[in-house]
Symmetry: C2
Subunit: 199 residues, 2 copies
């Protein structure tokens, strides 16, 4: 009976958001229509504008509506360190959490030969051009710690070596606040391998 | 550093949705921009259209883009039973869960004299006109089981009495699958008061 009208359509479309099931979508729809019409109008406009205007930064390939993203355009950032990540979401997360003042490069993926994703698909040519410029002293490989992420990090480290650039990998270990008892063995063995002297 | 651009705006606007914090808003924004552009465009359009076009049903006051909502316009529904609820969301929930084939009336609130919400604010005049037409035989009061919801139900039951219409209140008791141990005392005493013979 219900679900055919515009309200049903709205609920269905809200379900396409990650982590939103039909119950939350219902709540959202009623909130948009009854509570906060101005906010809803704003949201619709921003989604539209974001889709139309946001593209990739020419230098680091993250999401931005400018030619150069805010980070690349920022004059106070240190151009001698480059952090390589898999996705624009990673740039966002790292830049909010870490006191990292260098620049980024977004691969938009990871090497995965079985899926036909090789160096060309993750923008290695552009990255290599950047390494060749001689500005970069250290490259921090912050790809995910999956098999493919590790392989990608190793591949890029090899390329960096050609240009005499120091490559480092972010540390893997027990997360802050984590208990050993509930840590998986892979993470634990990384934590032991990567142990640091205290005194 | 981040959060100034269009992406930051999108994340901020998504936070206005109920149940969405900054982390989920981030995930949603990246999903909309990278994963599902077509779906995102659709979502923006539907939100806009919904705000512009959806109003209240002339008969039951629920949300609809038509003059009469689908339920009121449906010829197979039974016009002799009327279910009174507080909000359009309640209509949606009841109509999905219950095998109720009557019609609805939405109060858009509940009596709350302290907040200045009296009979006029919950559309009692229109409801009384409908009761006066003589078509309705039973009125089911499905307002929330809060103090104000109960008071509203009692008030409407009194009005229904004037027109010789039977008023009933939805049952309160232990929810299905609920355990006595974890049921609050108010609900339990309702459950005992409302007990039904089994054989």
């Amino acid at each position: 009976m219900q679900g055919k009208g515009l309200l049903g359509q709205l609920i269905q479309n809200l379900c396409c958001l990650p982590g939103v099931g039909s119950k939350s979508a219902q709540r959202m729809a009623f909130h948009l229509l009854q509570g906060d019409k101005q906010g809803a109008r704003h949201l619709a406009d921003t989604i539209r504008r974001a889709i139309d205007e946001i593209g990739h930064c020419q230098q680091c390939r993250t999401l931005t509506e400018q030619d150069l993203c805010e980070i690349c355009a920022h004059t106070a950032r240190d151009p001698s360190t480059l952090c390589v990540v898999e996705s624009p979401a990673d740039v966002w997360v790292v830049d909010q959490a870490v006191v990292f003042k260098g620049l980024y490069y977004v691969l938009h993926g990871r090497l995965s030969p079985l899926d036909g994703i090789g160096p060309d698909e993750i923008g290695m040519e552009q990255l290599e051009q950047r390494l060749a410029q001689g500005l970069i002293k250290e490259i921090i490989l912050a790809t995910n710690s999956t098999v493919e992420g590790e392989a990608t990090a190793h591949f890029i480290a090899e390329v960096a070596k050609k240009y005499d650039i120091q490559a480092s990998r972010i540390a893997h270990g027990v997360p802050m606040g984590g208990e050993l008892e509930f840590t998986d063995s892979g993470t634990l063995s990384h934590a032991f391998d990567g142990r640091r002297r205290m005194m």
